[in-house]
């Protein structure tokens, strides 16, 4: 239960990180908050020859909330997402999702980029960023490329980041002003891995009909499930139980959850249906200053 030997580097700039990744791309692992990687090292499930520590790269830890889109550096801590006033104002879905990530003493160390790049199928932030249609900035030797969240997560612990590349930041457009939001999850105990989780954003227009809606789930497949069809189904509809049931039924039919020691696929599917209904109901009720209900 102690890490194997590895060579350690502590760069202070992204360019230095990319230089280090070039030397031995396959044997090199980057260390962000370490709340998943350190257990894997301690249990020797991960045996990198070189560990590149990102904690000294200050430029990766910035939040820029001044523009049209909110840009969040990969090394911003999950606890910061939970407590930052700018994030709470523009992207209230994120702090609500962050509160479901493990526990306070994990979130003080764990990072946004670490969670996204680790891509655990039950993780909250990949689903939340998928619901918000965020973009991930991946930097490699040839410069930056931007990957949509819905194309970033390829499978369990597998993303679009190639060897030699680094996830440096995400950016997210704030939903229309007055949008409601909800992140709900069922886990065996608070902070345990989600059996299923749902991120929802709904905006109800002045006429009482939905004009913006987004939904994504975690824990119900090999990657976050984004309901890309939701805008077509919900736009112009009233936020009522018939609509929520219809959406939840379609989610039920389209997700492919798995069996494991914590829950059966069938149970996950049933939880996903109920959480989808509740999340849409809560998000609609919070729209236009309805406030947390």
């Amino acid at each position: 239960m102690k890490p194997p030997r590895f060579a350690y580097a502590a760069p202070t700039t992204v360019d230095e990180v990319l230089d280090l990744l070039r030397i031995e791309p396959d044997g090199t692992t980057v260390l962000a908050g370490g709340q998943s990687l350190m257990p894997m090292l301690n249990m020797r499930m991960a045996t990198p020859s070189v560990l590149v520590d990102l904690n000294g790269v200050v430029q990766l830890a910035a939040i820029d909330a001044d523009g049209d889109r909110v840009r969040i550096g990969a090394m911003v801590r999950q606890r910061t997402i939970e407590t930052d006033a700018r994030i709470a104002r523009r992207l209230p879905l994120l702090p609500e999702a962050a509160r479901h990530i493990a526990h306070v003493p994990i979130r003080t160390r764990g990072t946004v980029g670490g969670s996204l790049a680790h891509a655990d199928p039950s993780a909250e932030l990949p689903a939340a960023i998928s619901a918000l249609d965020g973009r991930l900035h991946v930097r490699g030797p040839d410069g930056d490329r931007v990957v949509a969240a819905r194309e970033f997560f390829l499978g369990p612990l597998t993303t679009a980041v190639e060897p030699g590349e680094l996830l440096v930041a995400i950016d997210v457009a704030a939903p229309p002003a007055g949008s409601g939001w909800a992140f709900l999850e069922v886990a065996r105990t608070h902070g345990a891995f989600a059996l299923a989780g749902v991120a929802a954003v709904v905006h109800v227009g002045s006429g009482g009909a939905i004009d913006h809606a987004a939904l994504a789930l975690c824990g119900v497949g090999s990657a976050p499930y984004a309901a890309t069809w939701l805008a077509d189904v919900a736009t112009g509809e009233r936020p009522d139980e018939a609509l929520f049931d219809h959406v939840a039924q379609r989610v039920h039919d389209e997700i492919s959850p798995y069996d494991d020691g914590h829950a059966s696929a069938d149970y996950r599917r049933r939880v996903a249906v109920v959480l989808t209904q509740r999340a849409l109901r809560t998000a609609a009720a919070r729209s236009n200053g309805g406030g947390p209900s």
């Binding site: 239960m1 102690k2 890490p3 194997p4 030997r5 590895f6 060579a7 350690y8 580097a9 502590a10 760069p11 202070t12 230095e16 230089d19 280090l20 030397i23 370490g34 709340q35 350190m38 257990p39 090292l41 301690n42 249990m43 070189v50 560990l51 520590d53 904690n55 606890r79 493990a102 526990h103 306070v104 003493p105 994990i106 003080t108 160390r109 105990t189 608070h190 902070g191």
Partner: protein, 171 residues
């Protein structure tokens, strides 16, 4: 200039409970093992060694973290608080007093981690004792206790928050 990549031991400087220390450590040494094995501060307990139990929680620059999930080299230049840093010359820390009076421990294995997590929570929210039971239990959920059933720990943290507030108001 390229960044050094080294498997060899390196020299780090850490401040633990206000005291500066210099140590020579391999990169793979865990912060928990630096505290326990190198500095001899065995009040930080190691339970699961993969971040689940919370027994090894310390404060790193004032924030609670698992010392089993941080490398000693990452603490270079940082300030650490362990359970040994809580009691003063005139006796137990008010939060420790509250734990003692409320029977918030039996075997004591989890207690150092609980104390440091609770101190951080109280520091960020002086009215922590007025938070509802669910919030408080959620905030403490990263620390496992197998003896008490948590009820007395929750009571002690509430009382500790009140004691610390009173102590502050007296000054």
């Amino acid at each position: 200039m390229s960044v050094p990549v080294a498997q060899e031991a390196q020299i780090i400087n850490v401040t633990v409970n206000g005291e500066p220390h210099t140590a020579t450590v391999e990169p793979r040494l865990l912060l928990a093992d630096l505290l326990r094995e190198v500095l001899g501060l065995r009040g930080t307990h190691l339970g699961c060694e993969h971040g689940v139990c919370g027994a090894c929680t310390i404060l790193l620059d004032g924030e609670p973290m698992r010392s089993c999930l941080v490398l000693a080299v990452q603490a270079d230049g940082r300030e650490i608080t362990t359970v040994e840093g809580l009691a003063g010359a005139d006796g137990l820390h008010p939060l420790q007093e509250a734990f003692r009076e409320h029977h918030a421990l039996q075997c004591g294995f989890c207690t150092p981690g609980f104390l440091l997590t609770a101190l951080y929570l109280i520091d960020g929210d002086p009215a922590l004792d007025e938070r509802d039971e669910k919030d408080l239990r959620e905030a403490l959920s990263g620390n496992l206790c197998r003896c008490t059933g948590y009820q007395n720990i929750v009571d002690a943290v509430r009382d500790g928050a009140a004691r610390l507030r009173d102590a502050k108001e007296e000054v």
